[in-house]
């Protein structure tokens, strides 16, 4: 009889965490791409069509002059690509556990992976869609500045914001049934309340003060700063950074607290 070698239980090691995270993110992407003929193009098509629609409405119908920046299509894409990432991730947070309830009930991986795989898979789609931005920026001859280096900083800030929100929203949605719809409604309002189709500086008082407390305002300002120096607003960025950290701390605390209850509720 051979004895089984006792191995250290390593289900909590960072390597294994990342491995599981990547497996599930890749699975979500593969399912999405395997089940549609257009596959990868969907990542691009969604924000692209939205950008073209808003471009048409605001430049051809409404004759926008001061709002946003020129070229407006580049300004739009810079807001819409990250918005699509944010919107898709938060929408999926509401079903982060429920959608894979059977797997959550049978696999003892760290539970935050169920939240973070959404951020990663939607984030990969966001990265895939960046060529759209590059093409439009080149075609429209948008001026490039050194401030473009803030773009990756904005990506990291959005990533942290999503982790904080995900740890907060995902478990709470398991416990309270009506939060799924509430979240979707809030998202719809948030689209117009965030500087996506306009810039933070375009808001008249008192909305500019209220709008500054939207963490997306600071993050979108960082995304745009490389092409549109007029979008620079460091106080808004600082507010966003503080809020991101606060949400992250709150999210971790809430998630820890609710984790046992969530598992019982599945």
């Amino acid at each position: 009889m051979t004895r089984v070698r006792a191995v250290r239980r390593e289900s909590d090691s960072p390597r294994r965490y990342l491995h599981s995270l990547w497996l599930l993110s890749a699975r979500d992407l593969r399912v999405r791409y395997a089940t549609s003929a257009l596959g990868y193009l969907w990542s691009i098509l969604d924000p692209l069509v939205m950008s073209l629609i808003y471009w048409f409405v605001f430049t051809q119908v409404f004759h926008r002059k001061e709002v946003g920046g020129d070229p407006y299509i580049v300004f739009l894409i810079l807001g819409l690509l990250p918005w699509v990432w944010f919107n898709a991730a938060v929408t999926d947070f509401t079903r982060a556990f429920r959608k894979d309830a059977k797997l959550v009930r049978s696999t003892a991986i760290p539970r935050s992976i169920w939240v973070n795989r959404i951020i990663v898979s939607k984030g990969v789609e966001f990265l895939f869609s960046i060529p759209v931005l590059v093409v439009f920026a080149i075609v429209n001859g948008a001026p490039v500045t050194i401030n473009l280096l803030w773009f990756p900083v904005a990506v990291i800030m959005q990533l942290l914001l999503l982790i904080g929100l995900g740890l907060l929203i995902s478990p709470v949605c398991v416990l309270f049934s009506d939060l799924e719809r509430t979240t979707r409604l809030v998202l719809r309002a948030l689209f117009y309340a965030s500087p996506v189709i306009y810039g933070i500086g375009d808001l008249p008082a008192p909305f500019d003060v209220i709008g500054a407390f939207n963490p997306l305002a600071g993050i979108f300002s960082l995304y745009r700063i490389g092409f549109f120096p007029s979008q620079e607003d460091w106080s808004v960025v600082l507010i966003a950074a503080i809020e991101v950290v606060a949400l992250l701390i709150l999210g971790v605390a809430v998630f820890r607290r609710l984790e046992p209850t969530v598992l019982k509720g599945l």
Binding site: M1, V4, A6, R9, A34
Partner: protein, 245 residues
């Protein structure tokens, strides 16, 4: 060395299974006036130790906390009081086919599930052949999982989890499914694993299976550990209780 240490374990569930509470419940006064009344203890003050290489059968009537105990040991539920310490990797045969994705192929699913249970890419590659052999699914590697028959699905799932190489095996009554020949094959595999010195934690209603695999029994009654002893004694006590009541 103890493989599993359970100390003062307790877990509560909501009694009213009316679905999820709504936001309204959060603010309603009734829930606040009687916070404890809607809950019951599914397990209370359960303590035991399992040595490495032991084969333990959990006995009890439906709703007495057997599956809950297994899930706590597997780490897919977290206790309200007490601790569960598991000192080795675990292969949980719980909700076997749950994690498989219908739109992905057999091969993709094997890599996904094996990976989630902790196998590295290299280990999956090593054991891939063995898994497909055991599941008898040669030539179906590129078939989408949803096109497999129910029997094939269970075979594949059992094949993956039983190849994990984890020293601790948790088995919920999954083996009630599948045809007789495959069930025998699964049992053969479990005996092989036991002979290799693995630890088994087995939940079943089937007295014959319990006597076949297990040496020690845990008898759960009303969420409490009523008896912990040799499997024969535990089954006798369980039968006596149920004949009387």
């Amino acid at each position: 060395m103890a493989a599993i240490e359970v100390t003062g374990l307790g877990i509560r569930f909501r009694r009213a299974r009316r679905g999820r509470p709504s936001l309204k419940d959060l603010f309603s006064s009734r829930a606040r006036r009687h916070p404890g009344s809607a809950e019951f203890w599914a397990l209370k003050d359960v303590s035991f130790q399992v040595e490495a290489g032991e084969a333990i059968g959990v006995v009890g009537r439906n709703g007495q906390g057997k599956s809950t105990l297994l899930k706590l040991v597997a780490g897919v539920l977290l206790p309200d009081v007490g601790t569960v310490a598991v000192h080795d990797d675990v292969a949980p045969l719980i909700e076997l086919t749950g994690g498989f994705v219908g739109d992905l192929t057999v091969a993709e699913n094997v890599r996904l599930i094996a990976g989630l249970h902790g196998m590295s890419r290299a280990e999956v590659a090593d054991r891939f052949e063995g898994i497909i052999d055991f599941a008898e699914l040669h030539g179906r590697l590129d078939t989408p999982y949803k096109h497999l028959s129910n029997g094939m699905k269970v075979r594949l799932a059992f094949a993956v989890v039983s190849q994990l190489g984890a020293p601790i095996l948790l088995v919920d009554e999954v083996l009630a499914v599948g045809d007789k020949a495959f069930r025998e094959k699964c049992y053969g595999r479990i005996e092989e694993l036991l002979a290799e010195g693995r630890t088994l934690f087995f939940v079943s209603h089937n007295e014959r299976d319990l006597r076949r695999f297990c040496t020690r029994g845990l008898y759960l009654r009303g969420g409490e550990l009523a008896l912990d002893g040799p499997i024969g004694d535990v089954l006798d006590r369980y039968n006596a209780d149920n004949a009387a009541g």
